[in-house]
């Protein structure tokens, strides 16, 4: 294959290498004082395969439930939080948040696109969402004197 072909493919790839994602994480999926006080954080960002290029918006929301959240409840919590985000993008979560259910199964429950974290940048975004939800929940617990 001539050298030019590869260069052309590279040029094509250069044109489309940014992806819009919304990393979502939930903290507090354990019972405290008889109920579950959860904080969900959504981070909308543009990423390349290995870098976060821009964080567009962050949104956090608290949820209270008397029973442990199952997969449909987790999906509802995430969708409600993401609905406040003004930017579009694929929802990204950790497999553990969805009880390690197969991606195709969870994807069918979301109204938009969904995937599990894969690339370095998606993992970094998830880390960001995790720290935000954890800190927000700590703050909330302190304010509520729990």
């Amino acid at each position: 294959m001539p050298v030019d072909c590869y260069a052309y493919i590279r040029y094509l790839l250069y044109l489309q290498k940014m992806f819009n994602i919304i990393a979502v994480d939930i903290s507090g999926r354990h019972r405290v004082d008889g109920y579950y006080l959860m904080v969900c954080a959504a981070v909308a960002a543009s990423v390349t395969a290995d870098h976060i290029e821009k964080v567009h918006q962050v949104h956090i929301r608290s949820f209270r439930s008397e029973s442990a959240p199952d997969v449909p409840s987790v999906v509802r919590i995430m969708e409600e939080t993401v609905s406040e985000i003004r930017f579009g993008g694929t929802i990204v979560t950790e497999p553990g948040d969805m009880y390690n259910k197969p991606q195709w199964l969870v994807d069918s429950m979301f109204s938009g696109n969904f995937k599990y974290e894969e690339s370095l940048s998606e993992r970094l975004c998830m880390q960001l969402a995790h720290h935000i939800s954890l800190s927000a929940r700590k703050l909330l617990l302190r304010e509520l004197d729990i």
Binding site: V3, Y6, I9, A49, D50
Partner: protein, 419 residues
């Protein structure tokens, strides 16, 4: 060649294609360890606490082992000590799991003191949580003290822990030496590039092509265990290219920890050259890229990554562009190459050059004297001279690291002609 039987338990309703690929990978691993696979056994069920697979399946396995006169049984699934004991009691053969198989391969490949220590550390880390049960099984007839309170178990586990600590200390001191060597190389103006990627992706072949070297290359997993470093000229910049051990899916954390000092060659590099075997199906490449990202992501800090789609000569242009586009979200700065045939290595070098740590570029005027000429020859060695013209003075367009630029500037200032 020793004869082995491979066994895999699949979770019910799990992805069939993924299961097949995992079995294929286990087969390749067995081949790399020097085994001939004489039979394969698969069962779909939830794990059994005593045998991993069902009891009936183990009895069937025992019959096959006898019939085919196999030397070893290799499980894909991680086995507990009790499971290993129960299965080997039934089959009357040695039983190991995938991680022990990897350790076997590493043990045969380890040649340097550091790699030998790493392999031993990995083996001990694997053994530690099992140490108490192993001794409990081995010494079940012989219990010290009243009602046998497990004196043997504790002392053996403690021995393992002590040995682990000793090896860790030794490896840490070796790592400190590597750290200072790395700093020295940086201060001498070398940039560090490390080859990373799934095992058998063609890292060593690419290393040989780029560095004009002859490190061993085989169509076999984990051919490289000991890192090799060679210098390389990348468009005027001095680069040290390091070939390292490959990644594998579901690598347990204790194995990553044991090989940390080798993997640090990747984690502490300026640029990581991620090698991908593009001749494989997209789903396989994606799975392998995922394993690479998973191994690297927590350790990499501010490292640039260039992805080399290797073995591109085995695909048509359409197939290649389709694969590259499908995987672009996992492949930073992709370049299609063929390491074996030497295709597009110049494009790869140009891409590497773009991602090396930035050097300053300045225009400089030096006196046309003996001292000036000696400075010019030093600058040719330490930096990249883009342009030079000799008139009343020597005008240089120079790109170099900060230390060299500062030295050149202070020389120019000191020897500037009074105006």
């Amino acid at each position: 060649m020793k004869r082995a039987i491979l066994v895999k338990r699949n979770d019910p309703r799990s992805d069939e294609h993924k299961n097949e690929l995992q079995m294929l990978e286990l087969k390749e691993l067995a081949y790399s360890a020097g085994y001939t696979v004489v039979a394969e056994l698969v069962q779909a069920r939830h794990p059994d606490s005593r045998y991993q697979v069902g009891r009936g399946k183990v009895e069937e396995l025992a019959r096959i082992v006898q019939g085919l006169n196999a030397d070893k049984v290799i499980f894909h699934n991680p086995l507990s000590t009790m499971q290993i004991y129960n299965i080997s009691e039934t089959c009357r053969r040695e039983v190991i799991d995938k991680f022990q198989l990897i350790l076997e391969i590493f043990a045969t490949r380890a040649t340097t003191p550091r790699s030998k220590l790493q392999v031993e550390l990995a083996r001990l880390e694997y053994e530690l949580p099992r140490a108490r049960t192993i001794i409990s099984i081995l010494k079940k007839e012989e219990r010290p003290g009243f009602m046998g309170l497990g004196g043997y178990e504790n002392s053996y586990a403690q021995d393992v822990k002590n040995r682990i600590n000793r090896i860790k200390n030794e490896l840490e001191s070796m790592e400190r030496d590597r750290d200072s060597l790395r700093s020295l190389r940086h201060s001498k103006g070398f940039s560090l590039v490390a080859l990373a990627g799934y095992t058998n992706a063609g890292k060593s072949t690419l290393f040989n092509s780029l560095a004009k070297e002859e490190v061993p290359v085989k169509d076999m997993m984990f051919t490289t265990l000991v890192p090799t470093t060679r210098s390389l000229d990348v468009e005027g910049r001095n680069v040290l290219l390091t070939d390292t051990v490959g990644f594998i899916e579901d690598l347990p954390h204790w194995m990553v920890d044991a090989f940390r000092s080798t993997l640090n060659e990747i984690f502490h590099a300026d640029v990581v050259l991620l090698v991908v075997d593009s001749s494989e199906p997209v789903e396989t490449i994606r799975r392998k890229l995922l394993a690479s990202h998973e191994t690297m992501w927590e350790q990499l800090q501010e490292v640039e990554i260039v992805t080399a789609f290797n073995k591109a000569d085995m695909l048509t242009q359409e197939e290649l562009s389709e694969r590259m586009l499908a995987l672009e979200y996992l492949t930073p700065n992709p370049v299609a190459i063929s390491a074996k045939k030497g295709f597009c290595l110049d494009i790869l070098k140009a891409e590497l050059r773009n991602h090396l740590p930035k050097w300053k570029r300045i225009h400089l005027s030096l006196p046309l004297s003996e001292e000036g000429m000696s400075m010019v020859s030093w600058l040719f060695r330490e930096g990249v001279v883009h342009n030079i013209s000799y008139g009343d003075s020597i005008d240089i367009d120079l790109e170099a690291r900060d230390a060299v630029i500062n030295k050149a500037l202070s020389f120019a200032k000191k020897h500037a002609s009074p105006s």
